[in-house]
């Protein structure tokens, strides 16, 4: 039986599934429900500085992108950090942590970029006995207009500076939450490391307008006829998050740095993918907001079953195992030649592969008598589009041409040895093979 216990920068939790700092973790009531449902940890909704709390809009805070059957693919939000008094949050955090000592409780913090502000709040947070803090350098809406959130996350020097203050005035783990609204995610991650951060978490939400109201010509969600960009999250952002996580996991300056993965994690499989790319644990928000806290039960059972099937006893057995396989395009093996293969027994004859290939790709699928679809090897460039649009899983697969056979498209014999662009004759910068 797989052991789901997680230890992330020294913080123990019964499983690697934490709730991200967001609306679901704004209050004691919600967090207690989350822990009862089985969540391993919670990053409390971001705390602001002492004083009158921020205010939220009183119109809609969320916009949505739907897939088929109103399945939620992405949500954006224009909610700010907690709009409840600091003292209230701190009292509740202390109570919850005392009642759930085995669960991870992390305080998310966003205060102005001034040393005094951080110095003031950190001891207050420490008194709650929270297991650590997460610096919210990510929120791209509202707070960023006031020089906080992603406004800090977009300036590596600020990240490094604030992280250093936190390490100076707080003695438990410091996690820096990164904004994806930046060109090169490795820079802020390296800055966090330079400042002494114990870990980074990513991604925060992405600048977004989910839709436009075509009656009123206003972005959604609309407040009295106007809209503002929000932060996008949910399944739609997962590919972006995975890529950014992998960049940090493999970059020289940040390699080995603990990562808490965030971004559209909806199922155990999503979680396993983030962890395979180097995340020590994961944080979830949109899936809980869509389906409620009970989804963690599926995440635990699914991850556990998969680990048993693979023979992994603990999460450490597979965390980071996909990282060595992330490389640059130039190192991909150009002698790996594949062709699409259509399983006629599985084919339901919808012709989507044909339409996609004929209209938008390489005219490599023939439509024969009786709607039989067959790949024309002499045209197939192995782009995979037919596999992607086929509604039947495993009906179309890519098959590797054995070395020594002739690729009917190029007329060349498939070579056995690995060869990439760096040594390709068409590359003006080619270097001789070693």
């Amino acid at each position: 039986m797989a052991d789901l216990t997680s230890e992330f920068v020294g913080i123990r939790s019964p499983n690697p599934f934490w709730l991200a700092s967001a609306p679901p973790t704004d209050k004691e009531y919600n967090v207690r429900r989350a822990f009862e449902a089985g969540w391993g940890g919670v990053v409390w909704k971001t705390l602001g500085a002492e004083g009158p709390p921020v205010v939220n809009v009183n119109g809609p805070r969320y916009g949505v992108v739907y897939g088929a059957d109103r399945r939620v693919l992405g949500i954006n939000n224009i909610e700010l950090i907690t709009d409840r008094p600091l003292e209230t949050n701190l009292e509740e955090m202390a109570r919850v942590k005392a009642d759930y000592p085995d669960r991870a409780l992390i305080a998310s913090i966003m205060v102005p970029c001034e040393e005094a502000a951080w110095k003031a709040i950190l001891p207050r947070v420490a008194e709650t006995n929270a297991d650590g803090i997460e610096l919210n350098f990510g929120c791209p809406h509202g707070m960023s207009e006031r020089g906080m959130g992603s406004a800090v996350g977009q300036v590596p020097e600020y990240i490094e500076m604030v992280t250093r203050w936190c390490k100076q005035y707080y003695d438990r783990p410091v996690i820096v939450k990164l904004t994806p609204n930046i060109t090169d995610i490795r820079k802020p991650a390296a800055a966090a490391r330079n400042g002494g951060a114990d870990a980074v978490s990513l991604i925060n939400t992405i600048n977004s307008i989910t839709s436009v109201d075509l009656d009123n010509f206003a972005p959604m969600p609309t407040i009295d006829g106007k809209g503002s960009h929000g932060g996008y999250c949910g399944p739609a952002v997962k590919p972006i998050a995975l890529s950014m996580v992998s960049e940090i996991a493999r970059a020289e300056a940040t390699r080995g740095m603990p990562i808490s993965g965030i971004g559209g994690i909806t199922t155990w499989r999503d979680a396993a993918e983030f962890m395979a790319l180097g995340c020590g644990n994961v944080q979830v928000c949109t899936a809980a907001m869509t389906y409620g806290f009970r989804i963690v039960q599926e995440m635990m059972s699914g991850l556990s079953q998969w680990m048993d099937e693979k023979g992994y006893r603990s999460t450490a057995d597979f965390v980071g195992r996909a990282v060595p396989n992330v490389t640059d395009w130039q190192y991909l093996n150009l002698n790996y030649v594949t062709k699409a293969r259509i399983d006629q027994d599985l084919c339901i004859k919808c012709g989507r592969c044909y339409a996609a290939c004929e209209d938008t790709s390489h005219q490599a699928i023939a439509m024969g008598e009786g709607r039989v679809f067959e790949v024309i090897d002499a045209e197939c460039v192995a782009c995979n589009l037919c596999v992607d649009v086929c509604p039947v899983e495993d009906c179309i697969t890519m098959e590797r041409l054995a070395p020594g056979t002739v690729d009917p498209r190029t007329g060349r014999v498939v070579q056995d040895e690995y060869a990439n662009w760096t040594t390709h004759p068409n590359n003006p910068m080619a270097t001789a093979a070693e």
Partner: protein, 439 residues
């Protein structure tokens, strides 16, 4: 004491009025917008879609479903109506399980097709609920065409001709237009007077003058029409009913199934419509099924469909057979009527050997207060045209043997007695007439 299913003989009001009313509501209730969205999302937008190929009117089904999925059911309806102006009725009566939905690739994938028929109804109902007719006529051509018969073929032909700018005189023998849509289809498939509303809506394009009470071979003469009009289209259907050739056929209680259905369709009060305690329907097509189910819905106690061949030879689809069975209709295969007695029918059992049907010598007797004949219909007048297989011979363009005379629907050769086929033939004849008249 009120009547019940067990009241002897033929009697009205066998069930309480509210139960009868409930029995005759929509067989497939309309989809609401949410249901339609969920159903539409299942369409794969197939290339050269098999459903469209399977549709006799070749409606662009993936396109109209995508239009529903993207929130424009009105545009979806226009896609449907451009191919099939009676798309509303076809959505209700088409044997989709043998046409578009049978061809749907989801059948192969998971045995459950996209609900094309119900989606089509959602789209067409949505547009038809709006004021006005969706299509505008082309500039007047000055050509005049006589369309004889305002059934599916005639309405379809008249509409397409009017659309192209021709002036149409639409002759109809019966009181209302619609043909079998109005008089011949089970009531639960065309609720809320849909056939009449649809016919009026189709004619709403303009340029169609409906002339009622005129019957070909009686008060209408084909030669006179040929002289008066630039072209003539015949969509007169099949007015006669085949005889049983069984002893006692003239007895009271032996009726044509089409007359029973027609009477039922026009009845102001279904509770006043008499039906037998024991009903036997002779035949194997849709008319037999419709008569049998509706007998049960009116409160007949025992209803049997007797068909002279085996189940696999039945004209009615398996879906329709199962629908009948679910309403308590019993099927008796390989049995043909021999004699009708007072309150009973004697049937000879048969077997099919090398395609030839022969009596085995055995007989069975069933109680029968009412016997409905549903063994096919016949052409009542040929108007001097060449026939083929008992129907007006037509070529692929629906041309008959006489110049400037076209025919389509059940009266013409080559069809398969479906509303949708009649619509296709009426439309195709109109296109050929249009091409011919344009010279």
């Amino acid at each position: 004491m009120p009547n019940s299913p067990f009241t002897a003989g033929i009697a009205p009001g066998r069930l309480p009025a509210d139960e009868i009313a409930r029995n005759f509501t929509d067989l497939h209730p309309p989809m609401d917008a949410h249901e339609a969205h969920v159903a539409a999302d299942r369409c794969y937008f197939c290339h050269d879609a098999p459903c469209t190929i399977a549709c006799p009117t070749e409606i662009d089904i993936p396109l109209f479903i995508r239009q529903i999925a993207t929130g424009t059911p009105e545009a979806a309806a226009k896609t449907i109506f451009e191919a099939n102006i009676l798309g509303g009725m076809c959505a209700r009566v088409c044997p989709t399980e043998e046409l578009c939905e049978e061809a749907c690739v989801r059948m192969t994938a998971e045995g459950k097709p996209v609900e094309i028929g119900r989606l089509q109804r959602h789209a067409t109902d949505t547009l038809m609920a709006r004021q006005g007719h969706p299509f505008e006529r082309a500039a007047p051509t000055g050509k005049r065409i006589a369309v004889v018969g305002a059934g599916p073929a005639g309405l379809s032909c008249a509409h397409r001709l009017a659309w192209h700018g021709h002036d149409v005189t639409l002759y109809e023998a019966r009181e209302k237009p619609g043909g079998l849509n109005e008089y011949g289809i089970a009531a639960y498939k065309s609720t809320e007077d849909f056939a009449a509303r649809e016919a009026a809506w189709v004619m709403g394009i303009g340029g169609i003058e409906l002339v009622q009470g005129r019957r070909l071979g009686d008060t209408l003469d084909l030669e006179a029409l040929r002289h008066e009009f630039d072209a003539v289209f015949l969509g007169v259907g099949l007015g006669g009913v085949n005889a049983l050739a069984a002893e006692g056929e003239q007895r009271e209680g032996v009726l044509n199934a089409v007359d029973f259905i027609s009477e039922l369709r026009q009845a102001a009060d279904l509770g006043a419509l008499p039906v037998g305690r024991n009903v036997v329907v002779i035949g194997g097509g849709m008319t037999a099924i419709d008569a049998a189910i509706q007998s049960r819905l009116l409160g007949a106690d025992q209803v049997t469909v007797a068909y002279r061949r085996g189940r696999d030879r039945m004209g009615a689809s398996r879906y329709e057979q199962d629908l009948a069975a679910s309403h308590g209709v019993r099927f008796l295969f390989n049995a043909q009527p021999k004699a009708i007695h007072d309150g009973a029918i004697e049937l000879a059992l048969t077997e099919e050997v090398d395609g030839a049907l022969r009596a085995t010598g055995e007989t069975v007797s069933l109680p029968a207060d009412q016997v409905f004949k549903a063994i096919g219909q016949t052409l009542t007048t040929d108007g001097g045209l060449e026939l083929m297989g008992g129907k007006i011979a037509v070529d692929r363009s629906m041309k008959t043997s006489l110049a400037n005379v076209w025919a389509g629907g059940d009266c013409a050769s080559g069809g398969d007695d479906l509303t949708v086929t009649a619509v296709a033939q009426g439309r195709d004849a109109a296109e050929d007439i249009h091409r011919t008249l344009a010279g």
